[in-house]
């Protein structure tokens, strides 16, 4: 318990915990909602949580002048955007084919 209080005191730990909570929320959403689009929403939340982690580590870690964390986060944003685009395009295509976005109903890959 002692380390919890001391650990919690640091700002880094706080940001990290927030990020972890955000990640868990995003995962919960991705794992429990029926709609495919909301799975993507959850994924975006997870990515954002990762970005927060990166920025927090950049800010409170050694050598913030190297801009490593910042760069990583920026690239992550770019990639996330691209991925969102492609993913939503897929959802639309699937919707055209199956006429639904209910993930529970999409089990054609069933073994």
């Amino acid at each position: 318990m002692t380390y919890m209080t001391t650990g919690f005191a640091t700002p880094l730990a706080g940001y990290l915990l927030v990020a972890a909570l955000l990640f868990a929320i995003g995962l919960a959403g991705a794992l429990t909602r029926r709609n495919a689009i909301l799975v993507l929403v959850g994924i975006e939340l997870m990515l954002n949580a990762a970005n927060l982690n990166l920025i927090a580590f950049w800010r409170y870690g050694p050598h913030p002048e190297a801009l490593t964390g910042m760069m990583f986060a920026i690239f992550s944003i770019a990639v996330a955007a691209a991925e969102a685009a492609v993913g939503l395009g897929l959802v639309i295509a699937i919707y055209r084919h199956a006429n639904t976005t209910d993930l529970d109903k999409m089990n054609r890959m069933k073994g």
């Binding site: 650990g7 972890a20 929320i25 919960a28 970005n51 800010r59 910042m70 770019a78 529970d104």
Partner: protein, 166 residues
């Protein structure tokens, strides 16, 4: 700890929770936007101004809109009959809780070992620009390529299929 941090954290998390709990999909997206905004503010709090503004521009400006478009195109605003949550939602919740537990444990266990510096870094756009075309030029180019590919891909995937000769 900074009280601003707590407020902003609460704001973000509320938005995130709303995003996954609301029934109406459009409401979800709007909550998501709130979450994005909260995150941007957190970035600003962390003295990563460029990242914060990039977050607003890209996520709120593009991704959220994109999701709205997708919702509208797939008629997701109607409520499904069986409910919005999967039949086995509890399992998912448990798994997510498990993930949080592990992450939290890692955080609380490891953070002590990391020395933390509290000096505010001064980062100018000039520095970021220099880094982009200097040290990180390769990732820049690759990301450009990636974005191109993604664009083309998204277009092709979402295009109406032509009834071609079979």
């Amino acid at each position: 700890m900074n009280p601003v941090f707590y407020i902003l954290a609460a704001f973000t998390l509320a938005g995130a929770l709303a995003a996954i709990l609301l029934k109406n999909l459009v409401h979800c997206v709007l909550a998501l936007t709130v979450a994005f905004a909260g995150l941007a503010l957190l970035f600003l709090e962390l003295d990563a101004q460029f990242a914060g503004f990039a977050q607003i521009l890209v996520y709120i400006g593009a991704v959220a809109i994109l999701i709205v478009f997708a919702i509208l195109l797939t008629e997701g605003s109607e409520l499904p009959k069986e409910g919005v949550f999967s039949n086995t939602w509890f399992v998912g919740l448990v798994i997510a809780a498990g993930v949080f537990a592990v992450l939290g444990w890692a955080v609380l266990q490891g953070v002590r070992a990391v020395p933390q510096q509290t000096a505010v870094p001064v980062v100018t756009v000039h520095d970021i620009g220099n880094a982009l075309v200097g040290r990180y030029v390769l990732p820049l180019e690759i990301v450009a390529l990636l974005l191109t590919a993604a664009t083309i891909g998204a277009v092709i995937v979402a295009m109406h299929e032509k009834e071609g000769p079979r």
